[in-house]
Symmetry: C2
């Protein structure tokens, strides 16, 4: 009988004639064993670990000699690059007897990449663009075919790739003949295989075996900042991250002011498109330098962004997004060439994928959050809130998912706040106020010390104390409420116990002095009544959006809350709940997803199936338009108060649990709706 | 029973409920009745002619009232544009009783266009790009979808177009929203549907019903000249033609000198690519002006060209085509965007189709000749010769087709001839020499008079008599042979009877004075021994190529000869045969196909199926490489003589038939080959 070959961890097994290369056996059994060179002993991706001894579980005994002897190709690779102890090259080692073979994770094509420390799930690597090494037949003038046609035949024969509709753009075609000759009729191609029914394409070509790796960019194109991750397309590793300001800010701080700029200025949209594309090129150059790669190694880019950023990136006038019915030019996912977007800094043939938009106010960024957090697979009812300049809100479970966007404005990011600033060294980011003395203590970005601790002055000497960032203002307002400096309506100093020298007159109202740096030539940092109102407006908008979706689904409570974006990273869930930014929930049911939109972009970058999935899922999401929904206005008005007047301080310090939810919105009285209650 | 509707000329028939529009009935029966607006009474493409009376053949009697009354839409169209008598609009007239309806040719989508006066077959109109008028649903913010997604739905619903993979490039997408709003939610799109398994694409979009037509360019991109036809894509009509010199001539007269230029000068290929693309843009602008259309109405372009022109057009260094094994970068047909080739003068979204190449020396121009002349469908053995700077030769019948290219050089086009010039006013194009007096008479381009006729001087006063073009030199050499001024080896003045004052010494040989214009300040136009040798080399190369294919197929004779290119248009078959340019055949079996390559380009422009057909046919053509075939050299040497010494004059003047073929080439002795003889 032929030798039995058992692969672990898959457990796949089969009998193969003695002399069969391990790689061939793996392929025949459908075992996930990588190879770029197709078994020619060049790429070393097919490393395996044979196991010897008794395997009662598998019912085999593996004797020495079950694999062929270490050969010259392996010896050469060992000397040149080194192999881990016990490793063999799967394309060189042949089966000689019954054998158990382990495929280590790094030798799997569809390796799983842990997404982040607190990841709920892993990304399976299956990027759209991969390298293939092929040996191409030389031309024969008596049977003349083009070099491209012979390359296609080689790809079909050696890699089983469907080449009938294989596309090769002219810049690559013009490199083909020199590459084939320089590589002595062997080349490595970067092949893009789309997730939908699309053309395969050769994006680039190199003579012989191409040693370097391919990279992708996951870009979260926000109204204010543009953040990018550079990912290794073989293992999903983030090798560099970079962010820059969106230069469109000079045309308007928020989305609607940019739409207005486009409406008021002929060619204004073109100007904004050019600005963001130039910034993306600069970002690409920077991140490639930081990751120590050539920009031409960047072969894939995924964008997530809100609809206005989406249209401006594509070169579409966003004017329709500024007025009802907020019609998108296209809501579908986009697959483009980098050159279509003038993204000349990366490989000009790089493919660009943009996630689908959900609605005129709910963009590809929200789709990316959905892809990352998968509410559509949730067993319990989950509320996902992603705060940027707009808040994207998703609510649902595996039976149904709703989405809306809420115009919170930039207050949560520190803008439109009297002492507000962007999150940067010197900005106050954490605040506590003693309920008895009304004295504050705070932390600034760049130091781990509280302002009351020794060494704080020295630690902040360089940056100074310059203002309050988004998380700082939220904590400050919540702490002021907890310390009795605000009443439930948000008025400063009206409560009897508010008396403190920290409250100073400001116009007809008061301001709370958080830090007085004027003695050292620094700023006087206060929280004014105007700041409180701005935060109230923003949090009401956010809350009203969430509540609107809850009404839609017919529930007063949610099972868990996921905070994403600025929230997850910087804003304390407790303070958010004190403020009434989000519906009440047990604190242990509130989790942070970090930059979920960015994570969604990375997932789409690394896995083709995820693209197809989110395209299908988005079509099933119910969109709720907040802008024209009277109920939204009702919730908005009702939500302006700052609740939890009874025990906010105890909640903040964790000495009591949050009280049971109490809602006083219009939705309450609608008896026709389904009510969900925690058990 | 429902009324019976019979369509002519198709004969298709069916019963439909009273009130069914004629257009709907036609669609259900699969009758070829055109419509751009989808039956909304806008486009008037669906005109039909009802017939009344007794139709024993069809078994019906058609009474007045069998169609609904003339309606307001028809009346408006009648007043605005006019309808031919008896015509109705198929989308307005409804069936009321048994009826016979004629679909006139201009109302058929797949109308047949007579290719040319002497056409063997017609082109069926089925262009890749057509206009579709659609009415698109307005956006609904409560069920938000992109405008593009609703446009796709409309195309699928109203035109049954598969839109899953419909592609819309960004420049068109950016026009979508304004067009929909300006057209009050109706637009006309130019939709490209490829012949292979390709994406459908929207190439352009206009608000409402687009009144203008779409056009295509069929371009024969030759080494020396670039000729273009502007075709109406609805009916295939050529509405303008234009030609310009290929500006690459400044880098080298013939193909190999251009390849050398690319080899010797770094970036030389890029220079030549830029030059030809600029010329194509100029040509496009000119031909659009001549056809009185906007260049943006040009939506399709088809190129035919030899492999070196092909590579330089695409931006591929042609260096590999200059040395064995003459490897093409790609031999397959190409489908591109105009912008890929920097063809910015036409619609930037225009699609470009380039026919496949057959081999390193046998290009898309030869494929176009094959598409036009269809040797692969021929019942008898046909030899097709297309002469430009290179000769493309096809030989075969429905069982097998062979192709080769022969390096004739530019002598047949008047280049490398002492008094040679391009075919232009003032060039001698026809020549006769009296065998007794040895006196010539000739015609020049721009006049129909022989030089011996009254009024010739006046008719040529403006142009002058400036030189000899390709056809002129061929006739001159053949006439000199017939008049005894040349011997069979091509030597001038060796024959006893050659004595005439027209023969003047030139170096160590003689020249024949065709025209002495020196008295009037014009040139002395002679045929020198060098000219004879140039023509001998060229014609030997041509003959040897044809003979090589005949050897390959095992025949000494062909059933018919088709002359294409310069041949068909200008060169007299009789003179060609006297010279021994082509194998002997009865003169009534020699026909001219005119610019067959250009015709092939037009066919591919007008009919998608033709593209698929030629791609498949080309793969089945046997390629013969002349450059390394020893037999070609043998034929070449053997063919240098000018045969038919016995009766050339009688042949020329038509007083005797051509003798039976007599070959004296090496192929004769190969007894193992199949011999074909005329019956």
């Amino acid at each position: 009988m032929d030798p039995l070959v058992i692969f672990t961890p898959s457990g796949k097994r089969g009998r193969f004639p003695a002399g069969t290369p391990v790689l061939s056996a793996a392929r025949q059994l459908g075992v996930d064993l990588d190879s770029v060179c197709g078994g020619r002993g060049i790429c070393s991706k097919c490393q395996i670990s044979p196991a010897y001894g008794e395997f009662p579980k598998h019912g085999v005994t593996v004797a020495q000699g079950a694999l062929s002897d270490w050969n010259a190709v392996e010896e050469r690779y060992q000397q040149k690059r080194g192999l881990k102890p016990g490793r063999r090259l799967g394309c060189q080692a042949t089966v000689q007897g019954d054998i158990v073979i382990d495929v280590p994770p790094e030798s799997q094509v569809h390796k799983q990449v842990v997404r982040k420390a607190a990841a709920l799930r892993a990304i399976t690597m299956d990027p759209a663009t991969r390298l293939y090494y092929v040996e191409v037949a030389e031309p024969d003038m008596h049977s003349p075919t083009g070099d491209l046609e012979r390359l296609k035949t080689a790809l079909a024969d050696q890699w089983d790739i469907a080449v009938d509709n294989l596309r090769v753009d002219l810049p690559v075609l013009s490199k083909l003949q020199p590459a084939l000759r320089k590589g002595h009729w062997s080349v490595t191609v970067a092949l893009h295989q789309g997730h939908a029914d699309m053309h395969e394409r050769i994006l680039d070509i190199w003579p012989g075996f191409y040693e370097d790796r391919l990279y992708g960019l996951a870009i979260d194109l926000g109204s204010t900042t543009i953040a990018a991750h550079l990912c290794d397309l073989r293992n999903g590793e983030v090798t560099a991250s970079a962010g820059i300001m969106n230069p469109q800010i000079r045309f308007g701080e928020d989305l609607m002011s940019r739409v207005s700029y486009a409406m008021m200025n002929p060619g204004g949209d073109v100007e904004m498109t050019r600005a963001v594309r130039e910034a993306l090129n600069a970002l690409t150059t920077d991140i490639a330098a930081e990751g120590r790669i050539e920009p031409s190694q960047i072969m894939e880019t995924v964008f997530v962004c809100n609809p206005v950023m989406h249209h401006l990136l594509l070169g579409i006038d966003p004017v329709e997004l500024g007025q009802a019915p907020f019609a998108l030019a296209t809501s579908g996912a986009m697959s483009l060439d980098a050159r279509d977007l003038d993204l000349s800094a990366m490989n000009p043939a790089a493919r660009v994928y943009i996630l689908p938009c959900i609605a005129g106010h709910v963009g590809a960024d929200c789709a990316a959050v959905a892809l990352s957090e998968e509410p559509y697979k949730s067993e319990d009812l989950v509320l996902i809130v992603d705060v940027g300049t707009n808040a994207e809100i998703l609510l649902g479970d595996k039976t149904r998912v709703l989405a809306c966007s809420s115009p919170t404005g930039p207050a949560f990011e520190g803008a439109q706040i009297s002492s507000g600033q962007r999150a940067a060294p010197g900005a106050i980011e954490r605040v506590e106020i003693d309920p008895v003395t009304k004295e504050p203590r705070f932390k600034v970005i760049g130091s781990d010390l509280w302002s009351t601790q020794d060494g704080f002055a020295a630690a902040t000497a360089v940056s100074g104390i310059t203002g309050i960032c988004g998380s700082g203002i939220i904590e400050a307002v919540a702490e002021m409420r907890a310390a009795g400096l605000l009443d439930a309506s948000g008025l400063i100093g009206s409560a009897a116990q508010a008396g403190t020298a920290r409250l100073i007159p400001e116009g007809r109202t008061h301001a709370y002095v958080l830090h007085d740096g004027t003695g050292e030539g620094g700023p006087l940092i206060t929280v004014t009544q105007g700041d409180i109102r701005a935060i109230q407006l923003a949090k009401s908008a956010l809350y009203a959006g969430a509540r609107l979706l809850m009404d839609e689904i017919g529930t007063d409570t949610v099972d868990r809350i996921v905070l994403a974006g600025a929230f997850g990273a910087h804003i304390s869930p407790k303070h958010a709940m004190i403020l009434g930014m989000i519906p009440d929930a047990p604190l242990n049911k509130v989790s942070s997803a970090g930059n979920a939109a960015g994570t969604g972009a990375r997932i789409a970058l690394c896995n083709r199936a995820a693209r197809a999935e989110i395209e299908a899922r988005v079509r099933q999401i119910t969109k709720v338009e907040t802008a024209v929904e009277p109920r939204f206005q009702e919730h908005f008005v009702a939500a302006s108060a700052i609740p939890h007047a009874t025990a906010p301080f105890a909640i903040l310090r964790g000495t009591v649990e949050l009280p049971e939810p109490s809602f006083n919105t219009a939705g309450e009285s609608d008896g026709g709706r389904r009510r969900r209650r925690r058990g």
